[in-house]
């Protein structure tokens, strides 16, 4: 009996120890940032009846508790390492071959991420039946667009359809579009023929194109739009190894930072409207060049330097003799939209993922081009924008 009591006391003491660790989370000074994960940590918020009734207080409390938990960063890193070790069970001969080394899967199940000579890339695969159906439904919407107005499509091929092992594009979007689209349209793509070229155009730790890739994109687009003598960069500015891309975050490669470089361009004066509000600037390239940015460590360079996604942006260059352009784009459009806009009178940039939420109305393509006297339409998007999702193309068929 005495022995049992002693055992229970020991057990209780150990349990209490675990709970004291948790209680410490609630009373310690909250940490603001995670330098290892390169992100802001969730803070405990004040209780309000409204926040409690809509569940926001509870959600925030759960997240803050996890973020502020003692040694939470170490726990995440080590957990990531264990998962990576477990993935090594996968027979590399069949799946990874020589160039690819397995890293992780994204939890949404959309992509398999591989380490390919220190670049984190998605494993190439042919679109499955469902993706092909989405593509078909998107093409029907694009055909509606083409039937109303002259349209240009610029597609950035991502590693999802390029096999670096064989150095071949396993699914050519531009060909699929050309084959199935009708009406007045042109298609161009950011092409790369091998892994060396890919490395030149893309980041190691992020899925976006870098300054060289986006400049090549700009040249391809202006060529397609028949622009003579497109702008040339007046300088290159680099802040070495400061960028921590989302692919690195995905696979928890917290120690990997990417080089972030921008080209400086001289763009004529123009007015900027974001979601209907006039703004002084869209991007922060000048701030980057002058090292004048607020959160140097946590800066999400790609979207903060080049400008982020909004429902609607309008660049007005006051060139009434020129045409009006509508650009429909995803995040790949950030570095090039202002550059392209300088060759037009006013350019409307719509991100269909945000339009309805931010503009408080649905996007209706025919109405939009009539109301804004749009002369031409340009799509700039990664191949996945065309392939994986048809909710973001809602409104194009109306």
């Amino acid at each position: 009996m005495k022995k049992r009591l002693k055992e229970e006391h020991v057990f209780l003491a150990l349990v209490c120890l675990v709970f004291i660790l948790g209680a410490y989370t609630l009373i310690k000074n909250p940490k603001k940032t995670s330098t290892v994960e390169n992100r802001n940590l969730t803070q405990f918020s004040h209780f309000t009846i409204n926040a409690f009734l809509n569940g926001k207080f509870q959600d925030n409390f759960d997240k803050a508790l996890a973020d502020q938990f003692p040694m939470s960063e170490k726990i995440r890193i080590n957990y990531g390492n264990v998962v990576a070790k477990l993935l090594e069970i996968v027979p590399n001969d069949d799946i990874c071959k020589n160039r690819y080394t397995s890293l992780a899967n994204d939890s949404a199940g959309n992509y398999r991420l591989f380490n390919c000579e220190d670049y984190i890339v998605r494993m190439p695969h042919l679109p499955n039946q469902k993706q092909l159906e989405v593509l078909e439904s998107n093409i029907a919407k694009f055909n509606h667009v083409n039937s109303l107005i002259k349209t240009y499509y610029y597609i950035i091929n991502t590693p999802l359809t390029f096999d670096f092992e064989k150095n071949e594009n396993i699914f050519d979007f531009s060909e699929a579009l050309k084959e199935k689209m009708s009406g007045d349209f042109d298609v161009a793509t950011l092409k790369y023929d091998n892994f060396e070229q890919y490395k030149d155009y893309f980041y190691k730790t992020d899925h976006h194109w870098n300054y060289k890739g986006s400049y090549q994109g700009f040249l391809d687009i202006t060529n397609m739009l028949d622009v003579k003598n497109p702008s040339k960069p007046s300088g290159t500015f680099s802040n070495h190894e400061c960028f921590f891309g989302t692919a690195a975050k995905n696979v928890r490669r917290f120690e990997d930072l990417d080089e972030f470089t921008v080209y400086k361009y001289d763009i004529p004066e123009h007015e900027i409207f974001i979601n209907g509000q006039q703004k002084q600037q869209y991007n922060h390239i000048d701030d980057f060049i002058s090292h004048n940015y607020e959160y140097s460590q946590l800066y999400t360079f790609y979207q903060n330097v080049y400008g982020t996604s909004y429902g609607e942006i309008i660049f007005d260059f006051h060139n009434p003799e020129k045409k009006n352009l509508l650009i429909i784009t995803d995040s790949f459009g950030h570095p090039v939209k202002e550059l392209v806009a300088q060759y037009f009178n006013h350019t409307h940039i719509v991100d269909l993922r945000h339009y309805q939420d931010e503009m408080k109305k649905p996007f209706v393509f025919s109405k939009y081009i009539n109301e804004n006297k749009i002369d031409e339409v340009l799509f700039i998007a990664s191949s996945e924008f065309f392939l994986l999702d048809n909710t973001t193309t809602e409104g194009l068929d109306k």
Binding site: A66, F69, N250
Partner: protein, 467 residues
């Protein structure tokens, strides 16, 4: 709030425990009631009002039923009324949209669905409330005169949102007075940790394998091996999830001085479907037996009536699990197999070596889970079709979903511990001098790993990946 959340572990539970053990015995139920309402309101801030109304309504109706014991007809009417109101509330929140959807299809109506969100745990607490009112009517239990005590029973957080379905008759005395001891407290904690580990480490991880196929079968190219792996993963997920939750509930009950009945008894070691249902979600099957099957006449009636009673119970069991035809189909599937077993198969199975009856039972149960898990009948059709006409080879499936390989380890652990391995290991260890200490260290180590998994799960950068 979920037991398997950091908020529950490190905020709600410690505060509730401290307050509960600080106050005198006569105030303990009040602490439990307030804590339970906060626990519920954390996840369902608006529906906590529904629960409070339900407590008030059932408290007074039960009192009236008890008072009118001499007026049998009125008593019966009141009982019918209370059953209709409780089942009606369950119907509105759980089955209304399903009914509208089917009416629209059958009669070509155009009724708009209500889109009401389902109050968490409504199926469980409705059955608990009914057990109380029916037992008061049957004079099996005394009417509860203290509304806070009845509220404590109905809202008691350990078993509020996922059972086991605790009957009022089982805890009537404990609600009035219960014993607390260090031994009971520690045993409760051990049981809670065991359930927590089952849920966080096994159920959550094998769920990733199961979801690869079941979350959207049309988005993956399937073959028979992929389907079998995912189905097995789902069988483990539902067992470890549900039995883990029951373990946590039973453990928490012990911590607060209650003794709840067992809800699972190694169901996957069953050697017939009849045996399986004696071991799976015991509190639900016994509830249906005592409050539906027996009142309808049970098996002490003509064969035709028995068949009717049996069918009603299994249709209701199917429906209780969800408002969808696949749950009804699952109920019918179980009913048919059980009928076959009762008629002749049972006798044959009794003469066959256990290993074969175990395998056949496990296969039948898994076929049942396929009906249970499929999101829609279309998904079910697609999975069945892909099983016989494969869309992809096993190698292709694994190549496209290679990360599930890392979760196979949890599947193997799940397969081992679905048998009474842990129980036997514990019994053996406890015979040693330091057995309990070693066992406690193992449990606490697993507890820490599970907490780490919870901390890790909050890291989710993927939603930003496409932007």
């Amino acid at each position: 709030m979920l037991f398997s959340s950091l908020t529950f572990l490190f905020a709600f539970l410690p505060i509730t425990l401290i307050l509960y053990f600080l106050v005198k015995d006569k105030y303990k139920n009040y602490i439990l009631l307030v804590a339970s309402l906060i626990f519920y309101a954390w996840g369902e801030p608006k529906y906590v009002i529904l629960m409070i109304l339900s407590i008030i309504f059932n408290f007074f109706i039960a009192k009236i039923i008890d008072k009118k014991s001499k007026k049998k007809k009125l008593q019966k009417l009141l009982l019918a009324f209370v059953v209709i109101v409780n089942i009606g509330a369950l119907f509105i929140f759980k089955y209304l949209d399903f009914a509208i959807e089917n009416l629209n299809v059958v009669f070509n109506f155009n009724i708009q669905p209500a889109h009401l969100s389902l109050p968490i745990g409504i199926s469980f607490y409705t059955f608990q409330i009914l057990s109380y009112v029916i037992d008061v009517y049957r004079k099996k239990v005394k009417v509860q005169k203290n509304i806070f005590t009845l509220g404590t029973y109905i809202a008691l957080f350990p078993q509020l949102i996922a059972g086991p379905i605790v009957r009022y008759s089982d805890v009537e005395k404990q609600l009035k007075s219960r014993t607390h001891s260090l031994e009971k407290f520690c045993d409760g904690f051990r049981r809670f940790i065991l359930g927590f580990v089952k849920k966080v480490l096994i159920a959550n991880n094998v769920a990733i394998i199961a979801d690869t196929v079941f979350s959207d079968p049309s988005s993956v190219e399937l073959g028979p091996v992929a389907i079998v792996i995912s189905l097995l993963a789902y069988a483990l997920q539902i067992y470890y999830d549900f039995s883990g939750y029951s373990d946590m509930a039973i453990g928490l009950g012990k911590i607060f001085g209650f003794d709840f009945d067992e809800n699972f008894n190694y169901p996957y070691s069953a050697t017939s479907l009849t045996d399986f249902w004696r071991r799976w979600h015991i509190s639900l099957t016994s509830w249906f037996r005592d409050y539906v099957y027996i009142p309808l006449g049970g098996n002490r009636c003509s064969k035709l009536k028995w068949l009717r009673n049996f069918s009603i119970v299994w249709l209701l069991t199917g429906f209780w699990h969800g408002a969808s035809w696949n749950f009804v189909l699952w109920g019918v599937f179980n009913m048919v197999i059980l009928l076959i077993e009762k008629q002749f198969l049972g006798k044959i199975l009794a003469n066959i070596p256990k290993i074969f009856t175990w395998i056949s039972t496990f296969i039948v149960v898994n076929i049942g889970w396929l009906l249970f898990r499929a999101n829609t009948m279309d998904d079910l059709g697609l999975i069945v079709k892909s099983f016989f006409y494969p869309e992809a080879s096993t190698a292709d499936f694994l190549a496209h979903n290679f990360s599930i390989v890392s979760y196979f380890l949890f599947m193997i652990l799940g397969l081992i511990f679905m048998f009474p391995v842990w129980k036997k290991m514990t019994e053996k260890l406890l015979k040693w001098k330091f057995g309990r200490f070693i066992l406690d260290i193992i449990l606490l180590a697993l507890f820490c790993v599970a907490i780490c998994a919870l901390v890790n799960s909050s890291y989710n950068p993927f939603i930003y990946f496409r932007f």
